[in-house]
Amino acid sequence: MKPCKKALALLLMTVLMTTLAAGCKSKDQNNSSSGISDNSQVSENSGTGTGNNDKPTLYIFNSKGENANEFEAMCKAYTAETGVPTKPFSVGAGTDASEPLRAQMNSNTPPAIFSIMGVKELPEWQQSGTALDLTTVEDSEFKSIVEGIPENMRLTTDGKASYGIPFNVEGYGYMVDSQMLDDLFGANSHEALLKDLRTCSYEDFTKLCEAIDQYVATPSAAKVTVNGNEYTFQAEKTGLAKNLTGVFAFAGSEKWTYGDHAINIAINTVFSTPIEAADAKDEQLDQLKEPFIAYAEMLDFVTQHVGGLKGHASRGRDLINASSFGYDQSIQMYADSNAVFLQQGNWASSNVGKVNQDVANRSSFIPLKCPVTDDMIKTGKTAEEFNSSIPVYVPNFYAVNAKVSEEIQQEAINFLKWMQKTENVNTYIVGMFKAVPYNASEDIEMEDALGSSIMSYVKEGRTLSDPYNGAPASWSSEVVGKQLMEQYLIKEQWNENDYSAIADFAISKWKEMKNAQ
């Protein structure tokens, strides 16, 4: 070997070592791990934890990757206004935030503000002592914010402590396009019909769906009664009605649509908050038998009236194929007017808008109709109220890290106070994040049609909660939803025995998993 080769070997080795050392060092400084975009607003010397004015840097974990840029802009505005350096991290859009959050929590500079996705995730941060009980904060302005959070939106396990400031509220129901109703029942019929659909009973709703199904196959000027008012179909298919292949757009491969969301309606009959559900007694779970049978009946009805991309679909193995009945396909079918109704939440608004913005602008929600009766409901509501309400709940909370220094905790609280100022709620939460604030004032203007539809239910007090989030982890989607997908959605005919088998399975699994935890 020539000397130059030896020198080269040594040189390469040195380069490797330097890179290695540099790699380790930069890891400490930037504190960025995979999947996290590092949007630093502070000057280069941020690694020490102090920024420009010797004020400590406020690390903020943002679990919504979709609004990473807007969130960064908000932090910039805060820094400009107060001089407090901020450093937000956002996960990639659509990524599960829990793993990156745990990685951040284990790093040298854990976030002072982080997010907790409801009661389901609370035990983890409560047990580790990371979540600060916000009711213990000595700050009158902040105290009034914490006390002002409506009781059913508090992040708590005992009803006393409160661990988070709601990020926003979300809701879901059947999306329906007003133009579609006009095309089915004649111009300007949608206003009256939408009003009737909001409050009509399960029976009226199913009659309407059957009539639409009939109309799709053989159009005629048939009459149908909703809420006592008569509506007449157009004799010929016009406009969007020509595209119809069924009544419902359905995502059979997405277990959460029927496992989490649809079954949540039935759970609402016994539990009015996720906290109650998390604390469920066996007797209460037994009371869910009848509501779960009602839920199975509803699911049976919906899956018999599904529109497909290639014409009317039926239950069977095709219905759970991700390539034909996945989330995107269901959005596509709804936005292309292949179906009248789509069970989704206002979070899907931008997805619908990407396919057809006009449809998104014309859409509003009607409640999921479920054949529950007054005596099934233990929460004091009537069946009529039940079928005219939609679930509206807080998906995400901002929490303060109790393990950072008191000084930084105070900065975090200042930041949250600033965020909740009315003008900032309007500018950032409503204006930039396009989210529905939990404390929306009466006069708030939502740009998004589905968002304002949610607001209208909130204003009328016609809301249900998200008790499914209080069920044992992975019960709703990965156990019940999975069972429905693998055993029932592929079966063409269901009978009464199937209804009660579904109900029994759901209840026994809940009991089993509750005791295992």
Partner: protein, 297 residues
């Protein structure tokens, strides 16, 4: 030259050793420690590291909850089928390319190409192939050939196992083929001539000359496919995501932290340790057995 390496040995291996220690050895040993604790991802349930030691509880839990053992057997079944399929196809490709004269380079490239696709991307592509192309076009009642077994392959544990094998064979046979081609080329042609003169036919030549002399390549390929099959994750996740009882070991470990709340990283880690022991044992036994059969020439 020897003197040079002897003198600088310590420094020259330092980067590799350091990397190995930092990236593999340290996390590995921390992992083993965590598998005996109630680690929850960011904290130890029940206090400090020392207070949270739970002995073999996590290991017992791994074997008693059922999902782990089920995925273990599913992985074993998949591995058996996949190792056979990939080896046969790869060897067949290699022998075929050895006997044709035109377009060898092109075929080699075509067979190798699927290997360059990432596992996740491939899983989604094949999901479409199984769910639409197989189900609705080729094997449907009014398709080219009505075969009910080949329809809805992602919706049944047995069918999904073969779906995975079809996909991974398509992916890795080309790569293994290259190793076999290398092995075949290193067999001296005079051995074949001598065998032919002694009256050995093509089949006999294959079993008496090719196969024994190919043993070193077979070792490599078997080792690679066995380990890869056992560790399969991306394709499993993208194709079925564990639905219809198709969770394989790696996916099972990944999902364990989502099955409960707070996440039980201790149990997940215990499963990972068992997983490591199995993979290590299989690999060592396999290398030992095949080595002893290799022929020197």
């Amino acid at each position: 030259m020897d003197k040079y390496f002897k003198r600088w040995f310590g420094i020259l291996v330092l980067p590799a050793v350091l990397l190995f220690v930092l990236v593999i050895a340290l996390p590995f040993f921390t992992g083993i420690v965590y598998s005996f604790t109630s680690w929850r991802g960011t904290y130890f349930a029940g206090g400090t590291l020392f207070q949270s030691f739970v002995g073999f509880d996590n290991y017992i839990k791994a074997f008693t909850t059922g999902t782990f053992t089920r995925s273990l057997w599913y992985t074993v079944a998949y591995t058996v089928v996949a190792v056979i399929a990939i080896n046969l196809v790869a060897l067949a490709f290699a022998l075929m390319l050895g006997s044709i004269h035109r377009g060898v380079g092109m075929y080699r490239t075509v067979f190798f190409m699927p290997n360059m696709l990432g596992g996740l991307a491939m899983g989604y592509v094949w999901q479409f192939i199984f769910q639409v192309v197989y189900t609705d076009l080729i094997f449907s009642p009014d398709g080219l050939l009505h075969l009910e077994f080949m329809r809805y392959m992602t919706q049944d544990p047995v069918k999904a196992l073969f779906a995975l094998v079809i996909m991974t064979t398509w992916q890795s046979a080309g790569y293994m083929m290259l190793i076999y081609i290398g092995g075949l080329n290193s067999i001296p042609s005079d051995l074949y001539e001598a065998a032919a003169i002694d009256g050995a036919g093509p089949v006999r030549r294959f079993f008496k000359v090719t196969l024994p002399l190919l043993m070193s390549s077979i070792t490599v390929v078997l080792f690679l496919t066995l380990a890869n099959s056992f560790k399969l994750l991306d394709q499993n996740l993208a194709l079925t995501n564990g639905d219809f009882d198709t969770r394989m070991l790696a996916l099972q470990i990944l999902r364990t932290t989502r099955d409960t709340q707070p996440p039980n990283y201790g149990v997940a880690q215990a499963q990972a340790v068992i997983f490591f022991l199995i993979v290590a044992a299989i690999s060592l036994i396999q290398v030992y057995v095949t080595r002893s059969r290799e022929v020197e020439f």
